[in-house]
Symmetry: C2
Subunit: 207 residues, 2 copies
């Protein structure tokens, strides 16, 4: 028999404006065993940022050395800075009996799925993995939300919508998908998927 | 994109005394779209039993004809009477947008898993399928519950415990498993697994 509930490597993606941040905050607030993933980055710390809490800050050389030794589940270069999720961080949290919340975009999610196929990776890491895509009720509703949020210009909103359309086409790559139409329902669904994942049988033929 | 939430073929097994009946009642009470599976049987209706509600009553000849044409998801003969779950019943409920709750033992569950591999079966039936095993907190706790229930003699309790031990060894055959130690927690877990299943992505490489 396996220990249940067991730790979950919980990945969530969503188009900008689909409500992912709110859902993640609610989930973290109600599940103390769930830890937000701490990424590595080569960008300099900002005022008040703490190493090991906000990010693991490192030099470009150190980051590139880790790339060479396949230490990342995923990494990307954004505006000249590297960002990445270190396998050893995730493994350490899971081994401690806690779960990890990964908030990544569809490209990051795809990289992680590929990385999890690597031979030699701890099988528990793959078994703990659960990915979810949060769908907006519709692109029209998403547009309304982005307008109401008032953070973006018309141009940026158009670009975000185009990107959202492309991202939604990737929803079927995820184990779970649901629409965030009603927030209370969406919170319940998000919590249910997370909770259910911690009771999944290991060593079944699901990856 | 697929419709979500989508209907679920929700199978639950548990050793006698693990609290499966209570969990099922709670789930049915809170989920009006979930229907308890109506079995076919050759045993004569008892006082007050309604055809199509309690069972689909049929003759031995009719039942055996359905066996020959592979119409059952599972069937068994118990004390000279046949009992079985008809594929067309399950398919009809799912096609109507409702979910089906199947309460079967480990043998029945195994037969259903095998039946779902049959070529020609609607792929949605396999995709809708989710099976859960409810574990008692321990065999010792199970014994206590069976004694407190006061329904069984000492002999019967011993036999039930032996059987429970054998059944628990099959828990890893199920997609999900959880212990019913605290009833409120168990209800929440059971509901979470059911809810999550209705948001699983179809056509993934999970069966």
């Amino acid at each position: 028999m396996q220990p249940t509930p067991h730790p979950v490597l919980f990945l969530v993606s969503a188009p900008s404006g689909a409500g992912k941040t709110t859902l993640c905050k609610q989930l973290l607030a109600t599940h103390p065993e769930l830890r937000y993933s701490v990424s590595c980055t080569t960008r300099p710390p900002r005022e008040g940022e703490v190493d090991g809490v906000d990010y693991f800050f490192m030099t470009r050389e150190a980051f590139e050395a880790k790339i060479m030794t396949d230490d990342f589940l995923e990494h990307a270069e954004v505006y000249g800075n590297y960002y990445g999720t270190e396998i050893s961080f995730v493994t350490r949290v899971l081994a401690g009996g806690n779960s990890v919340l990964l908030d990544v975009d569809v490209q990051g999610a795809e990289k992680i799925r590929t990385a999890l196929q690597r031979p030699g990776l701890a099988p528990r890491l793959c078994q703990a993995f659960c990915d979810v895509f949060v769908l907006p009720p519709s692109l029209q509703a998403l547009k309304q939300r982005l307008i109401q949020r008032g953070k973006d210009s018309e141009d940026v909103i158009e670009r975000r919508l185009e990107q959202a359309g492309a991202e939604i086409l990737q929803a079927d790559r995820y184990q779970y998908q649901f629409q965030n139409a009603d927030l209370n329902e969406a919170v319940l669904t998000f919590q249910s998927i997370y909770r259910a994942a911690s009771y999944r049988t290991w060593h079944s033929n699901r990856s």
